[in-house]
């Protein structure tokens, strides 16, 4: 087990290197002039400036030199101060965010993570539960109901569902507003009356015992969580159901019944551990899907996370910010895959040997 984990860990630096190459490579599709022009307004009048920027940022250097500078930073010839450098945690300055990309991630990621975690945990818990319930009651009413609901959910477009929810629960009923907090909460945060050390509104509110703020946070989270998770729910239920059905049809289930185990024990002790193998893979994909999903969800609900920032950066051709976010996303994907791989080794003993 340990050697298996170590082997997986050894792969991580390689993968990270690959991600940086990939993202840096994409930037090379733009000519130096095109890249420099992103920083200048009214180019015909300021052609001289274009050259200065190209020279200042060494955009005409060979690709590997530029990659090196991007990775470890470059000393300013006059002050000797080192600028940039992914490895130093400097992802560059975000034009659309008006702050360094790293700071932007630090400010916005907790909001996205809060949204993603609150989506992913119910997806896994309820998804598995519903999938098992459907499989155990195969072809009975409850199974048919779960199947029909999950097919409807899986085929319902996110933006339609999101707008529908806003129309009903925000515009009409005003139960669940958009954004992340109400004006009065924002004022308390700005005026430092309410501190947010973790960046997770729910946790900070509970820690401070501010139930009114917790309630406000939850009201703002309900719709984004619903919209972000319903498609994953549907897929999760279906994968769990089918892998559970497959497991229940295996010979070892007959053995388990033959031993005198109750149906409940058979499902819990023998079928579920086997059914969890494909579900774990699915969980990895779900996390990946959520990271993409936050872009749409956050944009629809005007929720201040990574996704909405990435969307506006992309529309305004803020290449530095987009690259920073892409890189960050890549890191998270690698981490998610690592977790799934390790879990794989835990639940399926056959994996470790191969």
């Amino acid at each position: 087990m340990t050697t298996y984990i170590i082997r997986r860990l050894l792969l991580v630096p390689l993968l990270l290197f690959g991600v940086t190459i990939l993202i840096f490579g994409m930037l090379q599709f733009l000519t130096p002039a095109e890249r420099a022009s992103l920083y200048i307004r009214d180019i015909p009048k300021n052609e001289r400036q274009l050259e200065i920027i190209i020279k200042h940022y060494n955009l005409n250097d060979p690709v590997y030199v530029q990659y090196w500078n991007w990775m470890v930073g470059k000393a300013d010839p006059i002050t000797g101060e080192i600028h940039g450098g992914i490895l130093r945690g400097d992802f560059g300055y975000s034009r659309t965010g008006s702050e360094p990309v790293m700071d932007m991630i630090k400010h916005r990621f907790p909001a996205t993570l809060e949204l993603a975690l609150l989506s992913v945990l119910p997806i896994i818990a309820v998804g598995i539960w519903l999938g098992v319930a459907a499989a155990v009651n195969h072809n009975k009413f409850i199974d048919q109901l779960i199947r029909v609901l999950s097919i409807i959910a899986a085929s319902f477009p996110v933006f339609v569902f999101g707008l529908l929810l806003i129309m009903i629960f925000y515009a009409k009923l005003n139960w669940f507003p958009t954004g992340r907090y109400s004006q009065w909460v924002l004022e308390e945060i700005v005026s430092k009356q309410f501190a947010t050390p973790t960046g997770f509104m729910t946790i900070d509110a509970i820690k401070a015992g501010r139930w009114d703020i917790l309630l406000d946070t939850i009201r703002h989270l309900v719709l984004p969580v619903l919209v972000l998770s319903y498609i994953s729910w549907a897929t999760f239920v279906r994968v769990t159901r089918s892998s559970m059905l497959e497991a229940l049809g295996q010979d070892y289930i007959l053995t388990a019944r033959e031993k005198g185990l109750s149906e409940n024990q058979v499902v819990r002790k023998h079928a579920l551990p086997n059914a969890m193998i494909p579900v774990t893979t699915m969980a990895g994909f779900t996390v990946v899907g959520l990271l993409g999903g936050v872009v749409i969800t956050e944009t629809i609900f005007n929720y201040p996370g990574i996704g909405s920032a990435a969307a506006s950066a992309a529309t305004q051709l803020d290449v530095v910010t987009v690259m920073g976010f892409a890189l960050f996303n890549g890191f998270i994907l690698i981490a998610a895959n690592l977790i799934v791989d390790v879990l794989y080794g835990v639940i399926d003993p056959r994996v470790q040997l191969s």
Binding site: Q250, D251, Y252, L254, T255, A256, R257, E258, K259, G260, L261, S262, K269, H270, P273, N274, I277, I347, D348, P349, R350, L353
Partner: protein, 329 residues
Amino acid sequence: MDKLLSVNDLRTHFYTREGVVHAVNGISFDLEAGETLGIVGESGCGKSVSMLSLLRLIPQPPGKILSGSANFNDIDLLSTSEDELRKIRGAKISMVFQDPMTYFNPVLKVGKQVMEPYLLHNDVSEKEAEERMFEMFAEVGISNPKGCAEDYPHQYSGGMRQRAMIAMALMCSPEILIADEPTTALDVTIQAQIIDMVRKLRDDFDMSIIWITHDLGIIANLAQRVIVMYAGYIIEEAYVKDLYKKPLHPYTIGLLNSLPRLDMKEKEKLNTIEGIPPVMYKETNLCPFAPRCQFAIDKCLNENPPLERFDNKRSVACWVDVETGKERK
């Protein structure tokens, strides 16, 4: 001898898209204490289904046990409550299956699976169950029991897995062991080892065995009495010696003739029974074997022969006296 298990008119059908498969069609037999009973027949003749029906282990739906009773210690296995039956499964009657690879759970340690029935049916600690398991492992000839208990099924060899499966079935010292072709997936030398071992265990544990197989050679080695099944019917039942000396049913004769023999010439072809066994979609009003039978007479195509008792010790379901080739009087 005492009747340990008495099965009467067991009838199991499967309701499939293609039609109702009449898998077991009213079979009756007894199992005596300490006896080894062989059940022989081709694939699909209903031998496994009838045994699984006894413990109500056939999937329902599509399977359904339509009628019958199976008395075991004054309990009717087929009508007793699910809770009552669960106390018998794995404790008083346990089963060993054909393919130990697929019948072990691949993601659980073998030791855990072997201990499971003992922990379930007895009020014992994990430690006691483990001791019992090591005892059983020694009985079935698994060396290095500690290491093996921690291994997963895929780390075992085929023979080892079957030994572990037998150890698992014997954990609770069952009164009846049902072995469903346990040696079919093994090569011949391992097969012989396992059969020797089972014979020894039968005497040590004082249990009755129902051994399902399509290999009449194994039966001769192991069983006292044989039941031959065809198309969901018992067509012949006899003591092993009588059956080998003088088979009464044409199908049994065919089976015995198709056994490979040591005195066969080189390149001599094995005898076969022409045709394939029928899939029974409806009640038959002819002898199910008649289409393949070289002794068939007109009556065979009009009426299904009942299982009739002879000399008070054997039974056969056939209209024809195979010695004369004429209808039996």
